[in-house]
Amino acid sequence: MLAVPEQFFCHKLTNGLTVLAQPMPSVSSAAMSVMTPAGASHDPADQAGAASVMINWFLRGAGGRNTRQLHEALDSLGCQHSEAVHSEHIMFAAAQLGRNLMPALDLYADILRRPSLEDASFEPCRALTVQDLSSLEDEPAQKCTILLRENFYPWPLGRCVYGSQQTLSQMQADQIRAHVEKNVGPVGTILASAGNLDWDKLLARIEDLFGDWPAQSPPAVQAGPAGQKLTYIHKDSAQTHIGLAHPTVPIGHPQYYPARMACTVLSGGMASRLFTEVREKRGLVYHVSARYHTLKDFAGIFTYAGTTPQKAKQTLEVTIEELRRLGRGISEQELNRAKTQLKSALVMQGESTSARASSIASDWHTLGRIRTLDEISRSIDAVSIEQVMEHLHDWPARNFTVLVIGPESLDTRCIGE
């Protein structure tokens, strides 16, 4: 199905850094994605929010440049960069013209290995994270999703990356420096590139830049029990924000593709079950969706619906019924539509160098290998209705974690748990 065969390269440096690349000959951009296992779940319990403060601080000068000089260096390369904190990793992403990939790598070597981490710039980084956390109060839909994830996953895997006002208020620069020292290094770090690149030159440069990066020994994360099952947060919002999560299989599981297929039938397009029943037939919402989300070892189906308070009970009832009805059977046509949708999304994602760089990095992290688009496509094609039904039998829509934000509490008896 692909015009050009995909080509991948991978190499592990002796210090543990994994280097991945996918050359894409027909494009002029090249993107890179660096994943380092120092995500929010690695934050020490009394320093929740450490990863968010840290990733801000990394951009405040590096390799002898101050904040402004560092940003000017990135900007002069036309580097479109972003930084994000996930559960397991912190992630640096940068997309630029292929000819600027090497100089961008030089800058990222400075950012990762020689960040200034000066006292003077610590306080603003902490203060920005405090503001990110309080901004959630003005964005109830987003807050609903974030807190639901926090309650759903075994603690602290789904923890809100901004920490808490309490931990942030006590955070010290030295603690974060120690945290960086312990957690940020080549071990477990994945550096993936995709686009207009030359593998031999790329690898040689990365060897030069990162070959002598001393290995660190990051402590393993101990996952504990998940949070409370039913949470209501009062807020005088215009809508009631309803979040539901129930467990499913993670990406490495044999039932992964059937699970993705089931979720696509439920909420993949405008003809999907949820959209049809909750919005099209009843006009209860503008936004309703169910999304598959996976960590390395745990995964969930996250369902969200936002509706005005007087319709909230009915919205919840119809949504829950659709989640359950899925287990009673799906049609051949539904399965075929889901397959086409997933495969077509795959091809379109395959055109983006940024999306490719981050996909191959996350494949490597979760599966220890890279899936070709062709392999994914064939795996999707191979899924049968029986497999989807077997999956839904093994992983039915129950054991819900529920989080509601709105002006009135919600009658959740229809969930029946």
């Binding site: 901004s135 839909a141 503008y286 936002g306 086409t340």
Partner: protein, 410 residues
């Protein structure tokens, strides 16, 4: 990359354009209708956006369920958006689905507007209004546009209000559809791995029956209010500020300088506002964007911060704008901004769905095609002096300001 631009016009006046790229893996197609909230009368407030929803509810030949099923069967990524002056319907698929995608989109441009669908969708629109009510950033944008443009049509709300939507009648929407979705007011656009001949053939079959009709638009000169308004909402935790000053229109060649100006002053990172507000954590968001419109334009700045920092943040924005207008950009700033915009446009240009917007809007506003390379060349030709002149000519320091805050600010 093998790129080619092609265009033609059907007898009834419908323009068809395509920028084909044989190395793409997907194709995108869209209908750009030159209509939006600025083309609405007061009684019809929100009709463009409501109609955009109704378009997906089907035609004489298709029910709403049929429409959704057909899109999903092609694995299409598709959506629509309504702004002050454009309503755009678009989809991307694998090249093998070009014909069914184009046929479906084209058929949808003549929706049935069935009464029961109309009543059901009214509920969805009211929910969408409630959804945005919970997003302060959107509230600031809407109120700011209203304040800035006042009675000018660009001050009209895109969503409309609970009242206007509740009282809107199906027949009024139908009359609006007839007036605004006529061939001369619509452009069909294709990008990516597209077969132009088949595109034209499909559209000729589907759209030739569209009745030609004149469609005009009032473009009175804007008389921006340049006032300050504060809205107190004790339910909020943070203060959200929006500023709007005048800027070149979409038809104006100085829009390249305007794009550079907004990047230098207010890009997310590495800009004047970034160093002045984000780096010291006075605000957690501070960004300026250039919003080019039909015979009008604006520089839009958003800031969000703690309420007790609001006055400081606002005065920092003002002093940065004043300083920029005095000194202009440094050579380094200008070069960086050019590189950033060029790289961003190139990266986006690799995706047919993104390229569709650029190609479509260029035609809608200027009736011309511009390659990505030409766009980048024009950007690089702008001098620092031109950016400075532009700042002075449009006067960044005179702006309409909207403050949405839990408490009174001074």
């Amino acid at each position: 990359m093998a790129m080619e631009f092609l265009h033609t016009k059907l007898d009834n006046g419908l323009t068809i354009i395509a920028e084909s790229n044989s190395s793409s893996a997907s194709m995108a197609a869209g209908f750009f209708v030159r209509t939006g909230s600025r083309d609405e009368s007061k009684e019809l407030s929100g009709v463009s956006h409501f109609l955009e929803h109704m378009v997906f509810k089907g035609t004489d030949r298709r029910t709403a369920i049929d429409v959704n099923l057909e899109f999903d069967r092609m694995g299409a990524e598709y959506n629509a958006c309504t702004s002050e002056e454009n309503t755009v319907y678009y989809g991307a698929v694998l090249p093998e689905f070009q014909d069914p995608l184009v046929e479906l989109l084209a058929d949808l441009m003549r929706p049935a507007l069935r009464m029961e669908d109309f009543e059901m969708e009214r509920n969805v629109i009211l929910e969408e209004i409630a959804l945005y009510e919970d997003q302060p950033r959107f509230r600031v944008y809407e109120k700011l546009m209203q304040e800035h443009f006042g009675q000018h049509p660009l001050g009209n709300s895109i969503l409309g209000t609970n009242d206007s939507i509740s009282s809107l009648r199906r027949d009024d929407m139908h009359a609006y559809l007839r007036r605004r979705y006529c061939p001369s007011n619509v452009t069909a656009v294709g990008t990516g791995k597209i077969d132009f001949e088949r595109l034209v053939e499909t559209l000729r079959r589907t759209c030739s029956s569209w009745e030609p009709m004149p469609a005009d638009r009032a473009t009175p000169p804007a008389r921006p209010a340049m006032c300050r308004r504060t809205i107190i909402d004790p339910k909020l935790i943070r203060t959200h500020v929006g500023l709007m000053s005048s800027a070149p229109s979409n038809q104006d060649d100085s829009r390249y300088a305007a794009e550079l100006l907004a990047t230098i002053v207010g890009d997310d990172t590495g800009s004047r506002l970034f160093y002045a507000l984000i780096e010291p954590a006075v605000a957690d968001e501070a960004a300026m964007a250039y919003d080019p419109l039909d015979q009008a334009g604006g520089f839009l700045t958003f800031v969000s911060c703690d309420p007790q920092k609001a006055n400081e943040a606002i005065s920092v924005v003002k002093s940065e704008l004043t300083r920029f207008q005095r000194e202009g950009p440094s050579m380094q700033e200008l070069e960086s901004a050019k590189n950033k915009i060029a790289a961003g446009a190139t990266i986006k240009g690799e995706l047919p769905m993104e390229r569709l917007r650029a190609v479509g809007y260029e035609w809608v506003y200027l009736h011309r095609h511009m390659t990505l390379e030409e766009h980048i060349d024009r950007l690089f030709a702008v001098s620092g002096g031109q950016v400075l002149d532009l700042a002075r000519q449009y006067d960044l320091t005179t702006a309409t300001m909207l403050v949405l805050s839990p408490t009174e600010t001074a």
